[in-house]
Homo-oligomer: 249 residues x 2
């Protein structure tokens, strides 16, 4: 990951996360850094279980998650829940330009969540995109990454076993946490209840628990107090996208 030039004081703590992620995708010029760093507008708090981006809001302005985790839930006619994705600090929600189904699907806070508006950013980009070429490219890439994650989710739900799903999602969360500097020696905070995890992975709460216990027994992963500790990355990743080791090849 590339380094953000020192000496750039971000006025809001949350924008530093965004800068970090954008920098990892494309080197920004000073103007672009300044534009992002100036996003100190009116932070808002969202309680767990409340919608961050109400669709009925008329024009749901784009916002940046500066702290906390959120999700994109879908409820089926029979009351089952399926999450389309999980949102971490540094992720963007809401319309920007065209209203894509994924980015505009409602987001719900899972923990206390703080967001700031990034409408100014996108207004500036819409007005004079040629002034911010790298920023446009980096933001586009962020969208593409989210869509790619959705494809991975399809594969996960379509042809992975319960263990593979849990292992894969833990590794995904680790990687995403590391991009925003939230990991520490193989550990990272994961404020997801097992129920929410089951809604994401298409499994029952009980079975998620059993799988997590199994991972703990096999000394692959330990989850305690909302902190995930991955003990064996190699075996875990092998487990995640390879078949069950029982049958070779």
């Amino acid at each position: 990951m590339q380094r953000i030039p020192t000496g750039i004081a971000t006025r809001a703590i949350g924008t530093e996360l965004l800068l970090r992620r954008l920098y990892a995708l494309k080197t920004l010029n000073p103007d672009e850094v300044e534009l992002v760093a100036s996003l100190d507008s009116k932070p808002r708090r969202h309680e767990p279980g409340t919608a961050i981006c109400p669709k009925s809001d008329g024009s749901p302005h784009p916002r940046l998650i500066t702290s906390g985790w959120a999700c994109r839930p879908r409820i089926t006619a029979d009351g089952r829940r399926q999450m389309l994705g999980i949102l971490l600090p540094g992720d963007l929600i809401g319309d920007r330009g065209e209203a894509r189904p994924l980015t505009t699907s409602p987001a719900v806070a899972l923990t206390p969540v703080r967001t700031v508006s990034v409408a100014k950013l996108f207004d500036a980009l819409a007005a004079t995109p040629q002034n911010y070429p790298n920023l446009v490219a980096a933001l586009n890439k962020m969208d593409l990454i989210e869509e790619a994650r959705l494809l991975d989710l399809v594969v996960r739900l379509g042809c992975h076993t319960a263990i593979q799903r849990v292992a894969g999602s833990l590794l995904e969360f680790y990687q995403r946490s590391s991009f925003i500097g939230f990991t520490h020696e193989g550990t990272f905070p994961m404020p997801l209840t097992q129920e929410k995890l089951s809604d994401l992975l298409g499994l029952s709460l009980v079975h998620v628990n059993r799988v997590i216990s199994q991972l703990r027994r096999e000394k692959l992963v330990e989850i305690r107090c909302g902190i995930v500790a991955i003990h064996d990355f190699a075996r875990l990743s092998l487990l995640a996208d390879r078949a069950d080791p029982s049958r070779p090849n």
Copy 2:
């Protein structure tokens, strides 16, 4: 669905499908119709099982499927297959502008497929988009619809039973076929083998067969010689996104 103004002769049969779909999304002006209708460039045939849009092609120009069905397969490390979507006549593949993961994921012909290049179309749009406002909007909507289908697939794989998945996908295919005028009194051609269907729905070939037999026994659907006949739309759609009727509410 809106009607395409008569008197517009499409020079290639395939572009008529695209016009039909675009018209259903937005009314086009004569210039826009003319631009689409002029896409008579070098049709290409693709044999079943071959890639339509080879990624290693350098610049995979966008193409329009004018006949035949295709899919977007993913193969996992352990050799399982999961399709990310099915492509019908009138669907577009390949890069146009930004390279989105879904639209650029490789497409493979399931039947003999015919495609024509639509590079000229997108070149014209890139050069002078202001000349074709409705066309840009309609093409955008087509992208959004494909993304929305991906979200539906996630829900289907995540929390639908085998019967619901089969019922839901048959209804989806019916709807999409009807948009391009391929339905006739509740029937439509579906050139998918049960194996391909199982790869799409995250089920085993054998179980897909059992479910189809069950739907036939219950006089909901009949599939014979690649023709699907939906006998009871009401019950089938109820089955598709409601829970199993055994437990109320």
